[in-house]
């Protein structure tokens, strides 16, 4: 591949975003249309990734490599493999939807808003494409700036508290990871290249420290229990587009970080930390679900359900077998689609009612029937009904965790039951029940809103009925990853045995 496709994907939206500055500030309509066109072009640009991706190799594809800071051996190197490629596509899709859902909702500083969203898009893609850990870190941190502004400027009443909390949590985690990255560089032969770093073997104690340093950054981002507390606030206060991007892409980066860095580079530590990570995931699953039952705020409920669902994902990842890891990655996409869609829905209804309190709703199914059916579909996908995408992911994770330890699968399954409870109960309270005065006469979804939701519906069924469309991307890469983790641990044991003899 000679054309620098990934660079184009990263920098097109950033440059596009700044090109909005040439439009007159007052010409809101032109800004919106231009932003939408940029995001659509970006999506079209990303389509070759789907069709030209070689599913038979675990090696990085569409690679680019340029020297950046020669004094430190830092390179601008990009590439995607079976683990990351789908997230790039998810990011380009979700950005379009985020722009569409903000069409009417954003009234002040419109230019800055779309600029932030587009810059964020480019940076997110950078996170998934970077194969140099320093470059990864740059994108990882830059991401904080637009997100900080999106929550803080266009968010709800308590937005300042939420955005500062989000920023500080993530920053502390990231900086600890930075120390880890520097340590890795010193021990790993003075390189930041992910693949080179994974070839080295490190002493186990060093690996554990490093694992913890990376854990600080990734666990906050996922978020894993007990460092999840920023998420409900950020989700609740963010504007609809912010919530959607946060749920669909940003929090996936934590799990992606585990897959891309912690596991291949620190295989023995990963094995050693397996049980603690699984236990934390299980606590997250059950805790998140129980908390959901007590929520009075629509967005907060979905936010806590994210904590629970992300627990499944980390559970899948750390059970370290190909079913569970593939399930975990697929569930990352699924959660992005479903929770993203739920936040889109909430954003649409919030625009009409300006309340997020569940009590203020009731009987919405009769005032907004079309909206009700969309919401029902996403609710069912969230609880994992067969034929929807949620079922496939959860099934694979449960299967994988059962292979590892039946008790893990048992606890995870209780989360499913609770999940069905809180989601269906939410649906009942919002859409059935007697009609609340506040929702009488609400206008039905507009065409723009239906168009926004349709791609998500398509994905729900596409993945639900034909999961191999997505899974086929990952098979080879995941198998290779599992080999790296299990294999090098095995090899280390052999070496130890030889030394002992």
């Amino acid at each position: 591949m000679s054309a620098p496709l990934l660079s184009a994907l990263i920098f097109f939206p950033i440059i596009g975003g700044f090109s909005l500055l040439i439009v007159k500030r007052e010409d809101v309509q032109a800004i919106k249309i231009m932003a939408l066109i940029i995001s659509l072009i970006e999506f079209v640009l990303s389509i070759p990734l789907f069709f030209m991706f070689d599913k038979t190799t675990y090696l990085m594809q569409f690679t680019e490599h340029h020297s950046w800071i020669p004094a430190f051996n830092i390179n601008y190197s990009l590439g995607v493999d079976g683990i990351s490629v789908l997230f790039v596509l998810l990011s380009t899709l979700v950005t379009i939807l985020a722009i569409l859902v903000s069409w009417e909702a954003i009234e002040k500083k419109v230019l800055e808003f779309f600029l932030s969203i587009l810059v964020l898009e480019g940076v997110m893609i950078g996170v998934f494409c970077a194969t140099d850990i320093f470059l990864f870190y740059i994108f990882w941190e830059v991401m904080l700036i637009p997100m900080f502004l999106i929550i803080g400027i266009w968010g709800g009443p308590n937005r300042i508290y939420a955005t500062i909390k989000f920023f500080l949590y993530t920053l502390i985690g990231s900086l600890l990871m930075l120390v880890g990255i520097i340590a890795l560089y010193m021990k790993g032969g003075h390189t930041f290249d992910v693949i080179e770093l994974a070839r080295h073997s490190y002493p186990i104690k060093f690996q554990i420290w490093l694992f913890l340093a990376f854990f600080a950054a990734f666990a906050v981002k996922v978020p894993m229990w007990p460092v999840h507390t920023w998420l409900p606030d950020a989700h609740t206060e963010a504007p609809a587009a912010g919530s959607v991007i946060l749920a669909a892409v940003l929090i996936k980066m934590g799990a992606y970080g585990f897959l891309r860095f912690s596991m291949p580079i620190l295989p023995q530590a990963t094995q050693a930390m397996m049980v603690p990570m699984i236990v934390l995931s299980l606590i997250g699953i059950v805790y998140g679900a129980v908390i959901c039952l007590a929520q009075k705020d629509l967005k907060r409920l979905i936010a806590y359900s994210s904590v629970s669902h992300m627990g499944y994902i980390t559970l899948g990842i750390f059970c370290l077998n190909s079913q569970s890891v593939e399930g975990g990655i697929l569930q990352m996409i699924n959660h992005g689609v479903v929770t993203g869609a739920l936040f889109l829905c909430i954003g649409m209804v919030y625009e009409r009612t300006h309340t997020r309190v569940i009590k203020d709703y009731g009987g919405l199914a009769s005032t907004m029937p079309v909206f009700g059916s969309f919401f029902l579909l996403f609710t069912l996908a969230a609880v994992g009904l067969p034929a929807t995408n949620g079922f496939i992911g959860e099934f694979l994770i449960l299967l994988g965790s059962f292979i590892y330890r039946p008790w893990a699968a048992f606890f995870a399954a209780t989360g499913l039951v609770l999940g069905a409870w809180y989601m269906l109960w939410l649906y009942q309270r919002v859409f059935f029940n007697p009609i609340n005065k506040k929702v009488v006469g609400l206008p039905e979804l507009t065409t723009r809103e239906i168009i926004t939701l349709l791609p998500m519906v398509g994905l729900v069924f596409w993945i639900g009925l034909y999961p191999d469309a997505m899974l086929s991307f990952m098979h080879v890469s995941v198998t290779h990853l599992i080999d790296q983790v299990q294999g090098s641990a095995g090899a280390a044991k052999q070496v130890a045995a030889i030394v002992l003899h």
């Binding site: 740059i138 941190e141 700036i145 920023f167 502390i172 600890l176």
Partner: protein, 481 residues
């Protein structure tokens, strides 16, 4: 006879930029006296003079002059460049500043140039006496600059405080130098290291005491806790452009001296000063960042932030490695750009009679002046150390160097305190973007301030995105190579 004349002229080679600057300084006073109507040219002449000096410094070859008293190496050149950039940016800011503050005197600019001469001498000092001379020349000029607005009580107080404290620090420095001289019999920095070994002084407590006194004086100059108490008051009281100048130029010169004395003069004592400075660095970061949290005036906040950044910069020096020094050098350069940028916004916002130094004054700036707010946003994120700005590159290099030298706990301390610093830097961003404006401020982007902001922005983003060449320069400018 002709030959000797040639030789004696050649001997001045190492201090050509300094002599040139002295001429510029005198010329500026002359212009002020004899052509008072041409005062608007003063800042531009300062800029041109410093640019010329900058070119001379960049073109200098490695030479040692005056019997080892002046050392012109790439280490010195790097620091000289930082100081001169500081002067240039301050002069550009002053072009705007004089309109609001009425600081029109010619001596304002010539004092700035004279202090630059002092800094340049400090950077290339190979001898403790030259070091002291440079330091005093710099300090005396700055005392006057701080007290320049004669009718302002705060400035007078700041100048007085600075003079007294500075005088005290100089005395301590001299005392330290005299002890070291008494024991080693030399004031030449590289000779000191030799005599320490040959004279079997490695465990001499008196020499350690002398070193300690010198360190205390240096710590005072660069505002390392617990010698930082003058900083907030002086920074707050000084005219804003001079505050910006003080936070960059003298600090860089101070660190140049710090590095040269410790690494050339006392490398054998690294075990002692390494750990001492590591604890001082932690203390400085803690005091600077935590106290900055509770400030309501942006100028005071930036003063405490300057203290904190001195703590960060110290990390490279205390590593005691060549890499550490180049990290400190890179950091000071990046800090120069971002801090000057932030202060330029302060200068830009001030109007006659209303200095707008309170954080509250920044509320809603994004609405009234999107351009100024956006620039301030970039400088604030850079001071926090978020990529893709220069602040991140500098911090990364420091972390890497200190980690490589084994100061893991100090590194973790830096990381934690810089997360804390995010809170107060972001408060500025928050006020600008997330609050409603209280008054409609109309800003006047004069050529000087625009140029200063442009250069600062270019520095912050340029080093942030393409740090390769700067780091390469710093890495090759290692001491003694």
């Amino acid at each position: 006879m002709i030959n000797t004349a040639l030789v004696s002229w050649k001997a001045f080679g190492p201090i050509v930029p300094e002599m040139f600057l002295v001429c510029i300084g005198l010329f500026l006073i002359g212009l002020d006296v004899f052509a008072p109507k041409r005062r608007e040219f003063l800042p531009w002449l300062t800029v041109i003079g410093c640019l010329a000096a900058l070119l001379m410094v960049a073109g200098e070859k490695d030479i040692v002059g005056f019997g080892g008293m002046i050392i012109c190496d790439s280490y010195a050149a790097f620091f000289k460049v930082i100081c001169l950039i500081g002067v240039i940016l301050t002069a550009l800011m002053s072009e705007h500043f004089r309109r609001t503050e009425g600081l029109n005197q010619g001596e304002y600019y010539s004092l700035m140039v004279f202090s630059a001469v002092g800094m340049l001498l400090m950077a290339s000092a190979g001898d403790l006496m030259v070091l002291y001379l440079g330091l005093e020349l710099m300090a005396l000029s700055i005392y006057c600059l701080v007290g320049m607005p004669r009718n302002d009580g705060r400035s007078a107080e700041a100048a007085m405080k600075y003079l007294l404290m500075g005088g005290f620090a100089s005395a301590i420095l001299l005392y330290g130098i005299s002890i070291v001289y008494g024991l080693t019999g030399t004031t030449n920095i590289s000779q000191i290291a030799k005599f320490t070994v040959s004279g079997n002084l490695l465990h001499n407590p008196a020499l350690l005491a002398g070193l300690g006194l010198m360190l205390a004086a240096f710590c005072f100059k660069v505002a390392i806790a617990p010698f930082h108490f003058w900083t907030p008051d002086v920074y707050d009281g000084a005219p804003t452009a001079i505050t910006a100048f003080m936070s960059v130029g003298p600090k860089a010169a101070g660190f140049a001296v710090f590095g040269r004395v410790l690494l050339t003069g006392f490398p054998q004592f690294h075990d002692q000063w390494g750990i001492l400075l590591a604890s001082l660095a932690l203390l400085t970061m803690a005091i600077g960042n935590i106290t900055a949290l509770s400030q309501t005036s942006i100028k005071r906040m930036l003063a405490y932030s300057a203290v904190a950044h001195a703590g960060y910069s110290l990390l490279g020096v205390l590593s005691g490695t060549a890499e550490g020094l180049s990290a400190t050098m890179t950091y000071l350069l990046t800090y120069g750009f971002m801090n000057m940028g932030a202060f330029a916004i302060l200068v830009l916002l001030a109007s006659p009679g209303n200095r707008r130094e309170s954080l509250e004054d920044y509320k809603g700036l994004a609405k009234t002046n999107p351009m100024a707010a956006f620039l301030m946003l970039i400088f604030m994120f850079s001071l926090t150390g978020i990529p893709p700005t220069a602040g991140f590159v500098g911090k990364f290099y420091l972390l890497k160097a200190a980690f490589g030298a084994g100061y893991t706990m100090t590194v973790i301390g830096l990381v934690i305190f810089s997360s804390i610093s995010a809170f107060f830097y972001l408060r500025v961003v928050r006020y600008m973007y997330m609050s409603d404006p209280q008054e409609n401020i109309s800003l006047d982007f004069t050529p000087g301030i625009s140029a200063a902001l442009g250069i600062a922005l270019l520095g912050v983003l340029g080093i942030g995105l393409l740090p390769g060449s700067v780091i390469g320069q710093a890495a090759t400018a290692l001491l003694g190579q």
